[in-house]
């Protein structure tokens, strides 16, 4: 079982000049079973991105350990795919070369990788764009390329760092549907970080609301909306009274945290 397990993970950043220590994360514990969809929400500075970077292996925790399928995470790896806010595409390569980047690094035979690229471009809705330079694509299309580039490597976990943050509202909604679709079809474990409460509710089978100083998991929800989103229109779900209720609850929670940070309470 390729479960993602975080045990007592803490991260303290120390300013090398002043020696001041900031506790970005403290004692994070959770288990993400294979195929679960987790969204993480919280005010800025609560350590969402730090958490993601630790799971991705870009930084090492100062205490605790994260394991995937029993293997300790120690550095980045192909089994944990990343999707960044701005796509982080390689603009000097056309779409298909971006998508098959991971395959080329693994020295996959060209015929096989060509098939895989076509398959994934088809799934993310970019069939026929293989030779297009990425800088000619719109923001939404660039994120589709980033998704395909990540999925073609067949990772166990997909880590998304505010993947839809830079998109306009309409494109965003389409991309949310796409993420749910991919989740259903591939059965991958997905961890998505977002600053939009609505998005977190829609895309979170499980939802963590994090609190700052020190960064910790403040509250966990188990939500039905992601499952419903597979069959229903996302706009209808947003009209749902239960949805609105949870949304207001979380908004108030985050609002209070922000107030606390500003020192108004």
């Amino acid at each position: 079982m390729a479960d993602l397990v975080c045990e007592d993970m803490s991260m303290t950043f120390t300013n090398p000049q002043t020696g001041d220590a900031v506790e970005a994360l403290k004692d994070i514990n959770f288990t993400l079973k294979k195929g679960e969809l987790l969204s993480v929400l919280g005010p800025s500075g609560c350590g969402k991105t730090t958490l993601l970077n630790m799971i991705a292996g870009f930084i090492n925790p100062t205490a605790g350990v994260a394991t995937l399928g029993g293997n300790t995470i120690n550095g980045p790896g192909v089994e944990r795919g990343m999707v960044f806010q701005q796509g982080a595409l390689f603009e000097w390569l056309p779409v298909s070369k971006n998508v098959d980047y991971g395959l080329r690094m693994k020295k996959t035979p060209p015929a096989e990788s060509k098939k895989l690229v076509e398959k994934w471009l088809d799934i993310v809705g970019l069939q026929g764009f293989g030779d297009t330079p990425t800088y000619q694509l719109s923001g939404g299309m660039q994120q589709r390329v980033a998704l395909a580039r990540c999925l073609v490597n067949d990772p166990d976990v997909i880590l998304m760092d505010e993947p839809l943050g830079a998109l306009d509202a309409l494109t965003r909604e389409k991309m949310q549907s796409l993420v749910l679709e991919l989740w259903k079809e591939t059965g991958k474990t997905i961890l998505i970080i977002t600053h939009s409460v609505e998005e977190a509710l829609l895309l979170g089978e499980r939802l963590f609301v994090m609190a700052p100083r020190p960064g910790r998991i403040h509250k966990e929800y188990n939500l039905p909306f992601a499952e419903r989103g597979l069959n229903e229109s996302l706009r209808d779900i947003k009209q749902d009274s239960h949805f609105a209720e949870v949304r207001e609850e979380i908004l108030t929670m985050i609002w209070n945290m922000e107030e606390e940070i500003m020192g108004r309470v």
Partner: protein, 642 residues
Amino acid sequence: MFEFLSDNRASIAAVIILALLAAFVVSLVTGRKRDAATANREVFGDPERTKGGWYWAVCGVSALMLIWFYFSWGVGRAYVPSAANELCQVAKLEEAVSPIKAALPIGSRYYKSTLLVSRNADQLEILRANVPASAFSSDEQTELVSLIDQIGQLIVNSSDPKNLDPALDGQLSALSADLDSLSEKLRAGPGGLQPTEEALAQPKWGTEHTEIPVLPMTPKGMLFDNVSVEAKEVADRFLKIRNHIPANDALIAEIKERIATLQGNSESGGFDEVALAEREAYIKSVERIFKRLDDGTIFPAASLESVNTAVENLDEANGEARGSLRIVEALLLPGPGVVKSRTQCTEQGSARWLPKPTDVVATFMQLANPDLENGGGYRGVTLLWWKWLPVAEVVGFLFPDWIADAWPGEYASHDSDGTISPKFKDKLLAFAQGEVSLGYIPWFEGHIWDSMFRVLMALSLGILLGVPLGLLMGISKFFKSFFDPIIELYRPVPPLAWAPLILTIFGIQDDGKIFLLFMVAFAIMVISARTGAVGTQLSKIRAAHSLGSTDAQILRNVILPNALPEILTGIRIAVGVCWGTLVAAEMLAGTTGVGFIENIARTVSDYELIWVTILIMGLLGLMLDMIMRWVIDKTIPWRGKG
């Protein structure tokens, strides 16, 4: 064909100038019309307004060319080809008369006599006031003052017209009369004068290294030439005339005696060394002024008046005889005109250093001619041509000798019967030394190629070594901190400051120049590659990590392409800087290259050649830059869009 074009360059220029004028006028009119038509289309300051406008380019280029033609006297030569030759004859007359003029107010504001009187009187006054009391007894001091007054009397006597020798008066009158008769000759015009065969056979203006043909080629020129010969005789006579007046004879004898007495006193008086030196120096300076006044170079002002008038008259006649030539000179030949020096007539003013466009083209064609036997190329090397290059030479260059040395075994030695049977090791050495026949390939040669080759070699080395180091410096603490001080210390030093050192170490052949240029290119490439590497977005590197790349794969597939825009911009800058440095380096030493040509041209003041090299450098630099711009557009279309 080339000969014909070269000989008729003045006529060709005439046609070109008309075409340029037409182009200038037409483009000006077109430009004004078009701009008026589109004036309201965009607001002021909109960059769109700069688009298009070929007609202004035509206008600018033709204006520049016209200015060039005008100030190089190209216009004058095109439409009045005989002007320079005629002006040369006028200059001959000026040269002949100049010794007379120099002694008269017409040439130098004052009579030469006036200047002599004033200078000598001043010096006598100073001597009179500064008799050294320590070196002379009081009697002697009185004697000296009276002696100085007596010498002053010489000036007074020479200046008085009443003392003038009647014979001298006659000489001066004859001289004036001769000058007047020359004026008459000039006013009478050329009449039936005809140029000689020899004169007509001279090469045309500007077609040979001697700019202006010296012998007169027109009747008007003949007139001036003839008059100048006679004027020279008159001038020679004038220079020999001296004003020795009888009234001074007794005075001169007495002064000589008094000076001798004073000198005798010095010798027998038993003075100490200091006093003796002071006495001798003082007496010597008195004697010097006396000798200057003794040789009869001071004339009464009134006696020279007639000569001055005659020269004025000659100048007037000169002007009248020149006639239309005066207008040509004033309008078409800007500057101080033609000057005759000892053996040749030369153009003065802007035409001296600004060769005519057609002459520049002709010089370029001559340089570009690959036929070395018939005066093509420069110093036995073509400008840009090709040759058969033995492949073995290239292989020998790339394949170092030490590989043969390192091969196991010994080189062959001669056998007892005097024969040598080469082993494989010997054959390898011959191969490394380029002594094997491997056929030939066509290859470039010539001054331009030599310059280009140096730049390209240095640039390639700079890129091959600089880019990897720059990338490593962008991502590694060790490389950054280790190499940064070295590069930053040598980089700001102007390349030419290194030149003497490097030429000493590597010699004046290609090695030294290539190394000098390599230093320039290397620093630029390191810095640009480093800037490019540092500018890589962290998220791209993280994405590459997550996609399973090794460190080397990231360097090759992410950091390098990401730095490519900076690297290419660096190459473009390096090309320009190398080109500039190369020309300067070639001016220091070497026997080929564009800079070498300019250096030789500079030492012999060959302005046509200097301009040709300047134009070659400019055009080649422009070409290299355009190639780089094209490469940049083709290879990094994503620049600024990531």
